[in-house]
């Protein structure tokens, strides 16, 4: 693997225009900007309805400087397969074909097409940005909304069910590369996307993207909140390369160290305010057990 990317050697070339419609302090905006730097110009994007649709802009102006096809909600991965098939038919094998979808579009309505593409071994990169609810439609619960979170469809009790572990589901397909990342660690994300461009077959990257309006925190804390999710041990950064699991540096650093309590993470956001002490303790115990293993 190439040297780790640093701020100083990270390319200055931008593939996203300023003045786009993303919300102030958007975690997706950070990873989109950094991810496209890693993908580079010779890439084609496939995007279903999501916050990214809004970020990408309204006809006839696009905020993205890469070719992109917007597709129906359930079809993202299949459409990426279609682009790849066309590129193979046209002899343009060196193009990165990249599906970029939200957590609802991935874990819920799009999981069938994603599973199909993974099972077929299609040569695509699939990036799921996980802001843990249907943010674009106004913060409804999704499969990846964590337990206890208040959304507009879990307005009083918070979500009763646990977060769906999508990277584990995808890893069970036996694809060559699965990784998790966070907007709070953009260079780690950059290196993972870059690595994905060098691997043949399906690649899946699940990136945690804090959302100020949806999660209920001030726009300046996007990085802080994202870091807390990793440092409290709730959202782990790792790679599974050809079946081999390794923790990434931001999570690896936590091994054998005392982690901040998950309550720090919950207290920083409005969406967890229905969690009672028992629930917080239960989650803390689950996280502790996971890290003890």
């Amino acid at each position: 693997m190439a040297e780790k990317t640093t701020i100083l050697n990270l390319t200055e070339e931008e593939f996203v225009h300023s003045g786009n419609r993303a919300c102030t302090g958007c975690g997706l905006s950070i990873v989109y900007r950094i991810g496209l730097k890693a993908l580079g110009k010779n890439s084609v994007l496939v995007v279903p309805p999501s916050c990214l649709t809004v970020l990408q802009g309204l006809y006839p102006v696009a905020s993205t400087k890469l070719p992109c096809v917007n597709v129906t909600f359930a079809s993202t991965a299949a459409a990426a397969t279609g682009v790849r098939s066309a590129m193979m038919a046209l002899g343009k094998d060196d193009v990165n074909v990249v599906a970029w979808a939200g957590d609802g579009g991935t874990s819920d309505i799009g999981i069938q097409a994603l599973s199909g593409a993974c099972e077929r071994g299609d040569n695509i990169i699939y990036i799921c940005y996980d802001n843990e609810a249907y943010m674009n439609t106004g913060v409804q619960r999704s499969g990846t909304t964590p337990q206890g979170v208040l959304t507009t469809t879990t307005p009083i009790k918070g979500k009763l069910q646990v977060k769906k572990d999508v990277p584990a589901i995808i890893a069970a397909h036996g694809i060559p590369y699965v990784a998790t990342a966070s907007a709070a660690f953009p260079l780690d994300f950059y290196d993972k996307v870059k690595k994905a461009t060098t691997i043949h077959g399906p690649k899946y990257i699940h990136v945690h993207t804090p959302c100020p309006p949806g999660w209920g925190f001030d726009t300046r804390y996007t990085i802080k909140v994202g870091k807390l999710a990793v440092e409290t041990g709730l959202f782990d950064l790792y790679e599974i390369e050809n079946g081999s699991f390794s923790l990434s540096a931001p999570s690896q650093r936590l091994v054998g160290k005392k982690r901040p309590p998950v309550s720090d993470y919950f207290a920083a956001q409005g969406r967890f305010k229905s969690l009672d002490t028992d629930m917080v303790n239960t989650i803390q115990q689950q996280v502790d057990a996971k890290w003890a293993a």
Partner: protein, 403 residues
């Protein structure tokens, strides 16, 4: 060269001759032999194409949409519930103006499950904006597939080639196999106007506003309604383009000349039976019998259903006494869809024919020649009034069937 093969193989061979580049398909009865044949063509390298065994029809059309947007000739095929599962994608493909060709092997729709033929599946998709061609025999299947690719890329609108499940898909008939060189001359490679190009990046199918909006270069660009209006205008203009394409096909292959409706013994007819697909050929036998009895009757097979060839239909039916429309589909709670469309076309005539509607063959119920003869004899004997409540043929309504 004449060969004897099934309708599904005729379709697959037409797809191969059209040098399709990307195929995505999900198996469904009675489309499966077509899909299997295509995978065999690709695996045996008789056809250089990408074959994607997708996990659903929704994804089949997703692959076609994306592959077409990227600038390749794309094909899929389906039937019945598979077509309905694609519905959202059918709208998407036409809104994005992609020259995809899809074979629809007509089958009834569940519930209850039926695997047998009727035409409810494709008829239910008449409003999505796809061009719909209907074949009546194996020769028309292979010819229509080749013409469909030419038409689709000429007008930038996807085309469905529909043919009856089992009656055509699984029966064997002789047909002429066009020469590859002739097909190549007739059907040039697909050269897209816009495609997914890293050298000239565009963002396709973005959110489009209700009103017009200036672009990056300052010129005003259309709103949603202008884009949809343009699609409708182009669909209407596609009638002329298809007539030209059919003429060119006829010059090269010696078959064609009736792109919209196929008339049989209609010239001096007082009565005209109308049907879509193989039923129109079955009706020819009935008409021959009635002619022997001195009844001046003919048959009109409708070969293009969308865009609706209203001028061809009007000129074929002008001056007739009674038009009898047989349909294996129904707009539930109203009438047969073809009946409604033909009646609408006749409305502008001063001396318009009486028109009757028969529903038959749903879910594969056998259509007996005697039944057709009885129905036509009845309508010709008493062409009294326009009947907006369709008559049903062959219903066996008995008490013990209820509940």
């Amino acid at each position: 060269m004449h060969i004897i093969e099934s309708g599904n193989v005729a379709a697959a061979t037409g797809v191969k001759l059209s040098r399709v580049q990307v195929i995505a398909a999900y198996p469904i009865t009675p489309q499966t032999p077509l899909t299997e044949k295509l995978s065999e063509f690709v695996e045996s390298e008789q056809l250089t194409a990408q074959y994607i065994p997708v996990e659903s029809e929704h994804s089949a059309m997703a692959v076609c949409i994306a592959a077409s947007t990227a600038g390749t000739r794309a094909f899929t095929a389906t039937s019945a519930n598979g077509l309905l599962y694609m519905n959202e994608q059918l709208h998407w493909a036409v809104g994005a103006r992609l020259p995809i060709v899809t074979c629809v092997v007509n089958r009834g729709i569940g519930a209850p499950w039926t695997v047998w033929n009727d035409q409810q599946d494709s008829m239910a998709q008449r409003d999505v904006g796809w061009i719909q061609l209907y074949a009546s025999d194996h020769q028309q299947i292979i010819d229509s597939v080749i013409k469909a690719f030419r038409l689709a890329q000429t007008v930038s609108i996807p085309v469905m080639v529909c043919y009856d499940g089992y009656l055509l898909s699984h029966t064997y008939m002789p047909f002429d196999l066009p020469e590859q060189s002739e097909v190549d001359a007739f059907l040039p490679p697909f050269v897209p106007k816009h495609f997914l190009d890293p050298e000239n990046p565009g963002n396709f199918n973005t959110v489009t506003l209700p009103d017009v909006r200036p672009g990056v270069d300052g010129t005003m660009r259309p709103g949603y309604i202008e884009i949809r209006h343009n699609l409708h205008q182009d669909l209407r203009a596609a009638l002329d383009s298809y007539a030209e394409i059919d003429r060119e096909f006829e010059q090269r292959f010696g078959r064609g000349g009736s792109p919209f409706v196929e008339q049989y013994r209609c010239d001096d007819a007082r009565f005209v039976a109308v049907a879509v697909g193989s039923l129109s050929y079955q009706l020819r036998d009935v008409i021959d019998t009635m002619r022997e009895d001195g009844i001046a009757i003919g048959v009109m097979g409708v070969q293009m259903y969308r865009p609706f060839p209203d001028q061809a239909v009007a000129s074929a039916l002008a001056g007739k006494e009674c038009v009898i429309v047989f349909e294996k589909a129904l707009s539930y709670g109203n009438q047969g869809p073809l009946y409604s469309d033909i009646k609408s076309t006749l409305y502008r005539m001063d001396d318009r024919p009486i028109i009757h509607n028969y529903i038959l063959g749903l879910g594969g119920r056998e259509i007996k020649t005697q039944q057709l003869l009885d129905a036509l004899t009845e309508s010709c004997a008493r062409p009294a009034a326009i009947e907006d409540t369709p008559r049903w043929i062959g219903l066996k309504l008995q008490e013990e069937h209820h509940g």
